[in-house]
């Protein structure tokens, strides 16, 4: 008898989604964390969402995850980014209260039946016959389980750099997990190394906000979660300031003292969130860089300065801060730092997130090379779901690139080794116009529902929204109004509102000013309807592209298909295919070093494979 069915290692954003999903699906689950008080901690900026990431949070919510709901409840500043662009790239973002977030996450976990929280540092993974069996804790305890989700975050061989100083640690003042990485390597996993950074933390009382631009939250923000029925509340403003000529001078003068530039860090840093020394060094022509002043919570005066990641020594960081408008007299509470950590390139896992080497062991979050809470949470949720479906002998969930950002992310991870921490962007999604925040539920809620992760209340709300949208959609196409009422360029002709809504500049809000029923229709649904109608033409084209994409995706490469003996393939191609073991022809075609002709050869071999296995069966 095993202690638990599922063991989740790590209490970060991946870990809590995995543990909550597994336990809510009915599996006895243990969440093991080095410090239970830190479960749900936002180790970097307490912000959720952003471009590409907001989409992930909605998808997590549609699958029945927790992140969106916790954010709605603990957020203090909500904004939709990219609002000047099209709805496909509108991205929700929230600044949260770090403490509230952690506490509410812990409260939610405490209320889940079948979930046990265990405090301890995991130092080893045990397996029998290449199948997960137990974990070993630092104090010698062993906990056995049938499946394991490893979500250990930055704790794997973490090394913190502040200027010339180096300290082994997971986060500041927390011990790193040194042995777990070694234990995985003993099992045969191949590690890589990545780097990410954080900016310094400031004492808010010492900031002169009068020298900065104020950035209020959006009043009409649509909550992240369908569970949130009340709306969200903006409680604080964020602020914007800029680096100065003096800042750039200080950075240039001290750049040799940065861990980034002294060669101390072997890992590769993220391109999209570069350190300030990196930005100033790389973009010499830009005379200033934007900085966001973001509060970390309601009952703390601690401030996060977004855009100022650095690994310069603490005294230089102090000088830099004082050169920034509004921060002339600021007190630095903690210096920023860079952290290096091990990851395990994801060609070692399947698109279900289960490792190829050890059955029933799942990897998610930073261990797979991603950065960001949302990326981690999405993987954690899927790993939790798949761990339980595997134990129940149900088919594993694989989400494809045309279905969700989650699918895009996992496919990217398993088809290439990241050179920098993987962060979600809308440009990673080929079918971006179809993968929007507003239709996340249409895309995914049935999956979440099938595992019992979507509550009845959420489902009812979804169905009711759907019905209202459908009937209003029909009504708009049946009801005509005078075109000139909403379109100043139009003449007095009467046209259906559905047709008028297609015109640039005409919005549902316009219709609501002239049509009573539109005025009574819920605003959040009106906006969704507007998107549906305005995007209809693009969607049609995009859906055709998706059909074509699925042609190759549907050509499965069976597990027992021997890639090593295929005639007509170059040795290099065979090596790539064997390393990544794509699950279908589409995935194979996305591998580096695989050409179109390789795919043709594979196609022919697969046809033969299938026809011979059919004839074997009939014999």
């Amino acid at each position: 008898m095993r202690d638990f069915q599922v063991i989740v290692i790590g209490g970060g954003h991946a870990g809590i989604e995995a543990a909550a999903a597994a336990a809510r699906m009915g599996a006895t689950t243990a969440l093991i964390s080095g410090d239970l008080a830190k479960v749900g901690e936002m180790s970097c900026n307490p912000a959720i969402g952003g471009v590409g990431k907001g989409q992930l949070v909605r998808e997590i919510d549609a699958l029945g995850g927790l992140m969106g709901y916790i954010t709605d409840r603990t957020g203090i500043h909500f904004r939709t980014l990219n609002k000047s662009k099209g709805p496909a790239v509108w991205s929700s973002r929230a600044q949260c209260d770090r403490k509230l977030y952690r506490e509410f996450a812990q409260e939610l976990l405490a209320g889940i039946e079948y979930l046990t929280l265990v405090e301890g540092m995991v130092v080893g993974i045990g397996c029998e016959d290449n199948k997960f069996s137990h974990v070993i804790l630092q104090d010698g305890r062993e906990i056995s389980g049938k499946a394991c989700v490893l979500a250990s975050g930055t704790f794997l061989n973490g090394l913190i750099h502040i200027g010339e100083e180096q300290t082994p640690a997971g986060r500041v003042n927390e011990a790193p997990s040194l042995h777990l990485s070694e234990s995985l390597q003993v099992l045969g996993f191949k590690p890589g190394r990545l780097k990410t950074g954080t900016p310094p933390r400031l004492e808010g009382e010492t900031i002169d906000y009068s020298k900065m631009e104020s950035q209020p939250g959006d009043d009409d923000f649509l909550p992240f979660s369908l569970r949130t029925t009340t709306g969200v509340t903006n409680r604080v403003h964020c602020h914007i300031t800029y680096t100065s000529a003096e800042t750039h001078r200080i950075v240039e003068a001290n750049i040799h003292r940065s861990a980034m530039f002294s060669g101390n860090i072997q890992g590769i840093g993220p391109r999209y969130c570069p350190s300030i020394e990196d930005k100033i060094h790389r973009f010499r022509d830009k005379d200033r860089h934007q900085l966001f002043i973001e509060p970390e919570g309601l009952d703390t005066t601690e401030i996060y300065i977004n855009g100022l990641s650095t690994s310069l020594p603490a005294d230089v960081q102090n000088d830099i801060l004082h050169s920034i408008p509004g921060l002339e007299n600021v007190v630095m509470k903690r210096p920023g730092y860079a952290i290096e950590y091990d990851f395990f390139p994801a060609f070692q896992i399947k698109p279900t997130l289960e490792t190829r080497l050890v059955a029933n062991l799942y990897f998610c979050g930073q261990i797979n090379g991603t950065s960001g809470y949302e990326e981690a949470a999405a993987q954690g949720l899927l790993a939790g779901i798949n761990a339980v479906t595997k134990l129940n002998n149900r088919p594993q969930v694989v989400i494809d690139r045309a279905q969700a950002y989650i699918g895009v992310m996992i496919d990217d991870l398993v088809t290439r080794v990241p050179m920098e921490p993987y962060r979600m962007f809308t440009s990673r999604a080929e079918y971006r116009l179809a993968l929007r925040e507003d239709n996340a539920y249409d895309r995914l809620i049935e999956i979440g529902r099938s595992f019992g992760l979507v509550t009845d209340q959420m489902m009812e709300r979804y169905v009711s929204d759907r019905e209202q949208l459908d009937s209003e959609h029909k009504r708009l196409h049946k009801t005509s109004i005078m075109a000139s009422l909403v379109d100043p360029d139009a003449n007095g002709d009467k046209l259906p509102m559905g047709v008028l809504l297609k015109r640039p500049g005409v919005t549902y809000r316009h219709l609501a000013t002239v049509d009573e029923e539109c005025a009574l229709f819920p605003e959040r649904l009106g906006e969704r309807l507007e998107i549906l109608i305005k995007y209809a033409g693009y969607m049609e084209k995009q859906l055709r592209e998706i059909d074509r994409f699925r042609q190759l995706e549907s050509r499965k490469i069976p597990d027992d298909f021997d890639l090593g003996v295929l005639s007509g393939l170059k040795k290099e191609a065979i090596a790539v295919l064997q390393q990544y073991r794509p699950i279908n022809l589409g995935q194979a075609s996305r591998l580096n070093g695989i050409t179109f002709s390789d795919i043709t050869v594979l196609m022919i071999h697969l046809k033969r494979h299938y026809s011979s296995s059919v004839s074997r069966e009939t014999n």
């Binding site: 662009k85 440009s427 179109f596």
Partner: protein, 463 residues
């Protein structure tokens, strides 16, 4: 349509059917050498010999100590062969019976009869050539005019692939910028960057337009130029037609193996196949087959870009000629004044000066005078028309490519329009992506069974 199995060793006669000086049999596949070993009278192991070597041997006969033929056998070791596999080419005597016997022996030894284009399909599958090049092989085999051959050879060399590939890469680069503006929410595109982008798009649009345009010439290269000879009754259309052919026989070599029909004839002028149509030969007929032919010719004349208009120089008036010509708009017309043998030099000069603007060519079909001038004029027109081609050699000769280039252009036009109107970047990116995909389709990056089967079915057996 299904693609044939790529694992087997295949064989086919690679020279045209019929009797010839030599006939070549090609064998390709893993077992090519083993199969060849079985054919020859002595014990040989072609698996052991050097690549690109030629061996003198005898092919076994049906009885002991008899031979089917004395041959030269060339050995190519993978991957340095046409298909990228092990290849044996047997040059036998060009007797169809002998060649058939040898092929049967290879099949008995384990090879399979190749399907049309299968050798090239394998070259493609083994990464020796890309799709564009594979299609060029088919074109090269079918090529009649030397200019078309040139275009096919150019395409085969991979340089057209490179050209289109570069255009694709330039588009991808622009796309990356759109993506950056989409993913960095607070960035606005600076005006200067926008005008630079518009400029880049215009350059690519220009190149794509020229490619699309080249298809018209490409069509000419591929199918030849249709030149109807038109004119009023008794202007001497048929005698001009015959005179051209007579002249052509005298100065240009005849294209061998073409079927001669009574109303149309092909000749090669400056590398282009020109097909003259004698419209006088097109009369009402009760014969169904002939009627169908006449119908087809009529349509071709409608579509012809170049027309030779013949008039009887002794009868036609300037007004009559001008009126006739005014009906032939939208196309090049070469005005020919026939029967000058019946006029004095003074009269000819008079007519010429009156019709100077139309640059008439004076001929006597009867005495074969001036026909060389007519052919020279046609040659000049061809040179002008194909000048754009020879300048950068990027000609599209294939309908599939033409469609794709037009699709790419269409999307790119939409990108430009949206960029000008400051529409949102994700929509620009969407259209741009469609443009990129269209170009990738030409390069064969879009995987599709049916497309492949269609393309390779155009080949003849043995290639």
């Amino acid at each position: 349509m299904r693609l044939p199995d790529s694992g087997e060793t295949i064989v086919a006669i690679s020279t045209p059917p019929g009797y010839g000086g030599i006939g070549v049999i090609r064998i390709s596949g893993n077992r090519a050498f083993a199969v060849a070993n079985e054919l020859v009278s002595e014990r040989r192991d072609f698996g052991e010999v050097k690549s690109h070597t030629i061996h003198h041997c005898y092919i076994k006969g049906s009885l002991r100590r008899t031979f089917t033929d004395e041959v030269l056998l060339a050995v190519f070791v993978a991957p340095n062969s046409y298909t990228g596999e092990n290849v044996v080419e047997i040059s036998a005597h060009g007797n169809p019976q002998i060649l058939k016997q040898i092929v049967e022996m290879t099949i008995n030894a384990g090879a399979r009869q190749a399907t049309p284009g299968e050798f090239t399909l394998r070259a493609f599958q083994n990464g020796r050539i890309d799709l564009l090049q594979a299609e060029a092989v088919a074109d090269l085999i079918a090529a009649e005019g030397t200019a078309f051959q040139q275009a096919a050879v150019y395409q085969l060399s991979g340089r057209l692939s490179e050209y289109i590939g570069n255009l694709r890469n330039e588009l991808v680069e622009i796309g990356a910028l759109f993506e950056a503006y989409t993913d960095f929410p607070d960035e606005e595109i600076p005006r200067q960057e926008k005008s630079e982008l518009l400029g880049k798009i215009d350059t690519i649009t220009g190149k794509l337009s020229r490619l699309a345009e080249s298809y018209r010439h490409g069509e000419v290269l591929r199918s030849g130029l249709q030149v109807p000879i038109v004119g009023p009754p008794n202007a001497g259309k048929s005698s001009l037609f015959n005179a051209i052919l007579a002249e052509e026989r005298a100065i240009v070599t005849e294209i061998p193996g073409t079927t001669r029909d009574t109303i149309a004839e092909k000749i090669d002028i400056n590398g282009i196949v020109v097909r003259f149509v004698d419209t006088a030969g097109m009369r009402e007929t009760d014969d169904h087959i002939e009627a169908a032919g006449v119908e087809r010719s009529k349509r071709e004349i409608e579509a012809a870009g170049l027309v030779v208009a013949v008039f009887d120089a002794t009868k036609a008036t300037v007004t009559e000629i001008r009126e006739f010509l005014s009906k032939l708009t939208d196309r090049q017309v070469i005005l020919v004044l026939n029967k000058i043998d019946l006029l004095t030099g003074f009269q000819i000069a008079d007519l010429e000066s009156e019709l100077d603007a139309t640059r008439p060519i004076v001929v006597s079909a009867k005495e074969l005078k001036g026909i060389d001038n007519l052919l020279k004029r046609i040659g000049e027109l061809i040179v002008t028309a194909t000048a754009t081609i020879s300048s950068d050699n990027n000609v599209i000769t294939n309908q599939r490519h033409h469609r794709a280039v037009l699709a790419a252009l269409d999307s790119l036009t939409s990108v430009r329009q949206k960029l000008e109107q400051d529409e949102s970047f994700e929509l620009l990116a969407f259209d741009l992506h469609q443009s990129v995909e269209a170009l990738e389709e030409i390069l064969g990056k879009v995987t599709n069974d049916d497309l492949l089967a269609e393309i390779f079915s155009r080949f003849c057996i043995g290639k």
